[in-house]
Symmetry: C2
Subunit: 230 residues, 2 copies
Amino acid sequence: MTVWDRPEPPTRPLPLDRERIVVAAIALADEAGLAAMSLRKVAARLEVGPMRLYGYISTKEELFDLVVDEVHAEILPEEQPGDWREALRAYARRTRQAALRHEWLADLLGGRPTMGPNALAVTEATLAPLDGLTDLDTALRAVETVSAYLTGAIRREIANLRAERATGLSKRDWQRAFGPYLRRMLATGRFPALTKAVYDGTEVDAEASFETGLDWVLDAVAAKLARPPA
Amino acid sequence: MTVWDRPEPPTRPLPLDRERIVVAAIALADEAGLAAMSLRKVAARLEVGPMRLYGYISTKEELFDLVVDEVHAEILPEEQPGDWREALRAYARRTRQAALRHEWLADLLGGRPTMGPNALAVTEATLAPLDGLTDLDTALRAVETVSAYLTGAIRREIANLRAERATGLSKRDWQRAFGPYLRRMLATGRFPALTKAVYDGTEVDAEASFETGLDWVLDAVAAKLARPPA
DNA sequence: CTCATGCCGATACACTGTATTTTGTTGTGA
DNA sequence: TCACAACAAAATACAGTGTATCGGCATGAG
């Protein structure tokens, strides 16, 4: 009898912890979308009964909060720039990148207040460089405005991406060929400006559009920093 | 045997149509949240079997699209201002008001491209006043940027509102007393700027905050209209 | 050795969206 | 008037969900 014959020790399931749960949940969602992140599937991936999870999580919403915070670890810059504009821009870009890696993030963004440690660190990193440049309320407003833009822009981008994927067409083609429906709509003549936009608008890629909008918002912030409110 | 004895004709159920379905769905969601808008409950409210709905919609996502578009009818201004700034502001305010009336809208905003007739009309109303003031791409970017801000700001506002409601505390108290957790977090000293914000920030109400951010974004748009991109 | 305690898997419940099957009704041709 | 076909609607079925509850088992205390 060699070691090879010896039965494997019954591979004690790794002791469960939040971290392992969160990692499994993210993996599932990355592979098959947020809908695939069911407690049962997460548990199955950890080779554990579904109810085991309730020792670490008290509700599914809590799991959502945890995975969102986990992704914020990717968003946090390894070393933060001292310049407020670069800090906000990095925050925006890194969030967008994270959403492109984890599309399900778009479904969750802005859905609940995020108070996890990583999210707090991200807020700190964006807020700190504004310190001293203006009053606190203006600084807060700046971060919130950028963050609101972010949420909306990312959600739209991912929504469009999914729609394109579903039809298999390029965005432009998709707009042009949205069945007879859109054409009929535009043909009614009720939407002249829109019609021009659809037919004459140049196709811009999502990233450029994101960056442009972001620049606008950052310019707006800059203007307010220059002359804080009376 | 008089007419009075005669049994009532069996009250033919009103012939179903999309409109009735959408109205029922919205009512349900208004009363008990988006989760209450299940196909079975909608059908029950119409005194009809669940499968009947599939004669009018082919999937639940489609129902979501329909209810979102229906709400856009409330967003569309009865008479649109010719001034682009007022048009965009009206769009923003009316969307926010709609979301306060129908909180579930926050869950759906930005989740899918909205191409319904009412949504198209809203886009037209916001786009038209920009016509001639700048090139088409800039106009589109303006509308999209405002819309992105809107989505994000509304989602955050509703999320905070729900959180406050859940704890029964005012926002300020909630921040201050977020269990031992937040205090402990801040006490670590890792988040100095955040700590100042939480403790020294004046409480601003949601509407004012929304308006301020909106003004910033509109200012940014105005700046771009003044000198269109090279 | 006995008993109590706490953990963990299995089971159970009330729901969900949707596919499929069964039933009923109504119009039609003979 | 009857038989049948076509279609609309209801009922049933299925695979899944989040979560409450129950039962057994293993481990530690007395």
